[in-house]
Amino acid sequence: MLPRIVSGLVALLLAGAMVAGCSGRSAPEPSAPSAPAFGSDDEAFAAAEETYRAYVDALNQVDLSDPATFEPVFAWTTGEAKATEHKSLSQMHADGWNVSGETAILKWVPEEHQASALGAVVAIACTDISTIALVDGAGTSVVSPDRPDRNALRLTFDVAPKSATGLSLAKSVRIEDAACAD
């Protein structure tokens, strides 16, 4: 019997055969280094606005007599902003103050997004706090006569993997903004 004619001569690298031919494994796909958190500036700013609106909603739900209502505020903040809220809300709670009314967002202006990094998003918000009343235990207003009705705030957001929007409010600094003036 003549040996069967070998239909093809295939030189196989052992490892090549194991990886590509038999084991069925596919080539690994390492995660890209330094992947930015957001695909575009628009996405980042949308996430920042969503974060800030959620934070303001949380502030509007605060009942100073019930510290459990502070938690959503803390959850949307980080760093300096969180420290401020901890201090401010717990102090008002300890002093027996009561708050009513709501913060409204009048304006939202995206400012900066560091697309190259997993870093900050910066935006300007104009908020209206004119309806907010703050009284002490005796019912006397503790609002300063100098309190402005509107605040222009430069907001900085940091990436927060645990946040639903991927961001947390890290800093909120009042600035002068004529468009937000009373």
Partner: protein, 259 residues
């Protein structure tokens, strides 16, 4: 809150170029504390941010051996600061300088370990490049440092790959996958390694992060030195390749010996 505060960055040796600007922003954070009227803008010059940089540019020459203490005013420099700076007139301010930070001070801030993988996954061939890919990305952590609220930024600056056979490679890049660049298998890459003998090797990667700190001024101050993080080990089995003539390929007949 620090109230009216001049934050003087860069160890107030203001022989160096400095920029000064009277800003109209508050130094405090504005949240629920605005309800009572805090966070008002005081545009009377009562709040001034000063920032400066060292003459050498972005890398302040902070000696690593200097033990860091808490915030220490550095107003006493060898030179009379009033001779060179505008901040020495009647100053209704408290001067606070942020602390010098050394890399050792950042011990409590741990950036993430790099990921490490390779191609072909888990295998290599003697005499052919095995690709190794490490990846790390920028991270920001916040916390307290030397009594100050601080944000710390880590950026990957380099990698040290230990291929497990006594060879190490220092590289600026973590490497790229063949699949990602469309290169065929066993193409040499910046991070690939050619093993000379069969065996199982444990590959590891160390990422070197540069660090910078921001004490709330918005200015990132580089910290000299590196913070490192090590990957988990990646085991690679290096096999010898032998050429053989076969009747059919493994794809055609998976039950043939050797498949």
């Amino acid at each position: 809150m620090r109230g009216l505060m001049v934050s003087v960055i860069a160890s107030i040796l203001i022989a160096m170029p400095a920029t000064a600007s009277a800003t109209t922003q508050t130094s405090e954070n504005c949240g629920s504390n605005t309800w009572a009227g805090a966070c008002s803008i005081t545009n009377s010059g009562g709040t001034v941010d000063l920032s400066g940089s060292t003459a050498s540019g972005t890398e302040p020459d902070i000696p690593q051996s200097t033990p860091s203490s808490g915030p220490t005013p550095h107003a006493e420099s060898q030179r009379d600061p009033c001779a060179t700076t505008m901040v020495c007139r009647d100053m209704p301010y408290e001067i606070v300088s942020v602390p010098d930070v050394t890399i050792e001070d950042l011990a409590s801030f741990r950036p993430a370990a790099p990921t490490l993988t390779g191609e072909p996954l888990g295998f290599g061939v003697v005499g052919l490049p095995a690709n190794v890919v490490a990846a790390a990305s920028e991270q920001r952590l916040s916390g307290e440092l030397l009594g100050w609220d601080v944000a710390v930024r880590f950026r990957p600056a380099g990698y040290v790959l230990d291929y497990g056979d006594g060879t190490t490679l220092r590289t600026a890049t973590g490497g790229t996958a063949w699949a990602a660049t469309g290169q065929p298998q066993f193409t040499p890459t910046a991070t690939s390694h050619t093993y000379r003998a069969r065996g199982t090797y444990s590959v590891s990667a160390r990422v070197l992060y540069t660090a910078a700190v921001d004490f709330g001024s918005g200015l990132w101050r580089p910290v000299p030195g590196y913070v490192t993080a090590d990957s988990r080990a990646y085991r690679i089995e290096v096999l010898e390749a032998r050429t053989a003539l076969v009747d059919r390929t493994c794809a055609e007949d998976p039950h043939t010996a050797g498949c």
